[in-house]
Amino acid sequence: MNDREQKMAEELVSIFEKVLVAEEKSLQKGYFSNLSLAEMHTLDAIGPYEARTMTETAQILGITVGTLTVSVDRLVKKGFVNRRRDEDDRRVVRISLTREGKLAARMHGKFHKVLAKHILEPYDEKEQELLLSLVSEVDDYLNTQVARYDNDDRIRQTAKDVAKDVRRRKTND
């Protein structure tokens, strides 16, 4: 690894960690200190307007419906999320933000916007465009890496299905 690659590797990890730490600290010191960062991101994924299904929200967050259920249970208890059965299809559970949830999500959105504003501020318009296009390219590359591991998830899912079939066959035997 040459010096530039070494520096890039360090900066990437450092940016990732610091954004998380800054988010966590802003949450702890803000009005919504009873929310964890993961819970705040769940509120973001639910979104401020139409009610979403549990499946849609789990897909946005890249987690299972089971994991989301645990998080939503807590958020309902804390008063940030409403949960109800779909009137047309009772099998579907819809979740939406309460007024408090909307407020928390908007405040958190503001944190990200202020951060971006301060990062871009020192640069002129042309430099800002260049910075944005470079950041987008890094993001695109990382998406390809995530897609690789998505395939791994499918492999794991296939393995789980096979294991389930084996168990079912054994039970039937």
Binding site: Y31, Y49, R99, K102, L103, R106, M107, G109, K110
Partner: protein, 93 residues
């Protein structure tokens, strides 16, 4: 009918109604004294709203009119008049 085709009188009536609704929200839900509010009042500086109070106000306006107000639109709003114009434009889109 586009904005330019709406008779000025009717447009002003509608804007007066929006102003009156916003005044109600400010006084009833956020405890602002009605005598403290005028069309040129700066929402952030004169009312000393912090971000939380401002968002709380905006969410109430969204729910009252069943509209969506993006942060970028909020950033452009300074006075009560700006807010009335913005809400009027959104509900007439």
């Amino acid at each position: 009918m586009t904005d330019s085709e709406v008779p000025r009188e009717r447009m002003n009536d509608k804007k007066d109604q929006v102003y009156s609704d916003l005044l109600n929200i400010l006084t009833e839900e956020l405890g602002v004294s009605p005598t403290d509010v005028n069309p040129n009042l700066d929402i952030r500086d004169d009312l000393l709203f912090d971000s939380l109070q401002l968002y709380s106000f905006i969410i109430t306006v969204e729910e009252a009119y069943d509209i969506r107000i993006a942060d970028e639109q909020i950033d452009k709003v300074h006075t009560m008049n700006d807010l009335v114009d913005m809400v009027y434009d959104i509900i007439n889109k």
